[in-house]
Amino acid sequence: MLARIKRFLGLGGKAEKEAKPIKPKDDESSQQEVEKVADKPKIGYFHLSGCTGDGVALTENYDILADLLTDMIDIVYGQTLVDVWYADENNPYAVDDMPEMDLALVEGSVCLQDEHSMHELKKLREKAKLVCAFGSCAMTGCFTRYCIGGQQAQPKHESFLPIGDLIQVDCAIPGCPVSPEIIAKVVVALINRDMDYLQPMLDMAGCSSACGCDLNLSIVNKALCTGCGTCAMACQTRAIEMINGRPELNEDRCIKCGICYQHCPRSWFPEERIKQDLGL
């Protein structure tokens, strides 16, 4: 299974310590190279205020999704991927039954006026060993930063915050939405206990606000920009154009996801990992 993920990602096959085959190789039904992870990580999937784009991206790993969910991880909490969640309309605190988990993936920002979400967020921090802001809404607030309330179904829902403003976040994955590939790469890294790969995402956990203007403040103003165009390529809303070799931001299109800055090779640069991935 892990080998299939790696082929999918174009990574070289290394010996896997954490994975072992559960079926003999000559078994007819084992032609798909099914391997089982010894200690399947228990993962909770929490959907706060977001568009479900990150959850959709997760399922876009079509080739590996079924095996991933069956053999490699246990989803112990989630409204969409598994029907395990605790919403009792008569009891907003039914999430008290929430199970213990290794990792909580949190999609969406949290609405201060949404009693259920607020309680769920505090509870998941207690129950999860690691909390990951999954996607830019959870990490930076992203486009929910523009919310001003006054809308149905609940006009009072006005204040949407990145989860890091309220709870300790251990890891963040930016993207609006995050790409299917980064999800698969993170899962592989988690299973292999490859903390080096995850380190940049652990470092990003403290970042709870972003804007296209970060490029000017932190890259151009700091004499780091070379006009390579990576920010404009990475921008998911086409808010950046390269003019005279420098990024020009169209603020009306910027959703404050933080992708441009995180993709910039001059914000941080994973040289060792790149050389390893290229076999250099």
């Binding site: 174009g10 991206a57 876009e60 994955i173 930016p174 993207g175 609006c176 939405p177 995050v178 790409s179 299917p180 590939e181 980064i182 790469k185 940049p200 932190s218 700091k222 004499a223 780091l224 920009c225 070379t226 006009g227 390579c228 165009g229 990576t230 404009a232 390529m233 990475a234 998911q236 390269m242 005279n244 070799g245 996801c257 992708i259 995180q262 993709h263 910039c264 090779p265 001059r266 914000s267 941080w268 640069f269 994973p270 040289e271 990992r273 790149i274 050389k275 991935d277 290229l278 076999g279 250099l280």
Partner: protein, 281 residues
């Protein structure tokens, strides 16, 4: 390791006379992309083509050998090729894409491949990343300063720009002008000053004139796929080669320049660190 990790290095040039006529040096980038296109190794390539002002290039998604040849020749100012990469995949629907870039652009591309946060299904479409040696890059206004002010000529009559033998050269319609390279110092963009990569160490194949005789280029294959493509192109006769050790000035000069860039970058990094400015490498 001043030249990065590589599998083979040769001195080479394109055999196609049409490419030799328009190329900067050995025509390696043009020859590799036209070959890869014809062999369906790639379906298109992002190249730096002349813009409305010919010396202000803009990235082009080239789908034919003619388009690739139209972009031959070095431009000494910004062409944000990485920007066009997603366009090539999404808008043009290219499944196997080639791209040429300078070292900083390759850093952006490779970081995206290792950490593809928001670039859904772009990284897996890259089939050939060609890097070009680069000491520094200039804003267009710097080139105008050299040519219009220092050489008393004009970018509008410039046919070719080149750097070699310690000089910045300009070929106009009827003349060949130069200024010593040290007159260009201080006009490069500031972001180049911390870059340690002269020979495009993250490319599949990297190339540049330094180390080889006039009209030839020094070519490194670095990744497994790059090495395959270079070997195939040589075997197909698209590129002719000389043994690197037999040519003058040879790898020694390249090493000297590569180490010089690294040393200068280290100094700049140290001075930035002292000022409390961020440094990514």
């Amino acid at each position: 390791m001043s030249l990065g990790s590589y599998k083979q290095v040769v001195s080479a040039r394109a055999t196609d006379k049409a490419i030799q006529k328009v190329s900067q040096d050995g025509g390696i980038v043009t020859a590799l992309f036209t070959y890869a296109l014809e062999e369906q190794i790639i379906e298109g390539a992002v190249v730096a083509a002349p813009g409305d002002d010919p010396w202000d290039p803009k990235p082009l998604v080239a789908m034919t050998p003619e388009e690739i040849i139209s972009a031959a020749g070095t431009k000494y100012t910004f062409s944000p090729n990485v920007w066009m990469l997603k366009e090539a995949v999404r808008h043009y629907g290219i499944e196997k894409v080639g791209i040429v870039g300078i070292p900083c652009q390759l850093q952006g591309i490779r970081k995206m491949q290792s950490y593809p946060f928001g670039t859904r299904f772009v990284a897996d479409k890259l089939a050939l990343v060609v890097g070009i040696f680069c000491m520094e890059n200039f804003p267009l206004a710097s080139l105008e300063t050299f040519i219009n002010e220092k050489m008393k000529s004009s970018t509008h009559v410039t046919k070719k720009m080149d750097i070699g033998a310690g000089k910045f050269w300009v070929e106009t319609l009827d003349d060949k002008l130069s200024i010593p390279l040290k007159e260009t110092h201080g006009y490069e963009q500031a972001g180049c000053n911390i870059c340690k990569d002269y020979t495009a160490e993250l490319a599949d194949i990297s190339t540049g004139s330094v180390g080889s005789p006039d009209g030839w280029s020094t070519v490194f294959s670095r990744t497994v796929s790059g090495d395959d493509i270079l070997s195939q192109a040589i075997e197909a006769g698209v590129i002719e080669t000389k043994v690197m050790d037999d040519v003058k000035p040879g790898l020694g000069l390249l090493e000297k320049l590569a180490n010089g860039k690294k040393d200068n970058a280290e100094k700049e990094i140290a001075s930035r660190t002292e000022l409390g400015l961020p440094v990514p490498f």
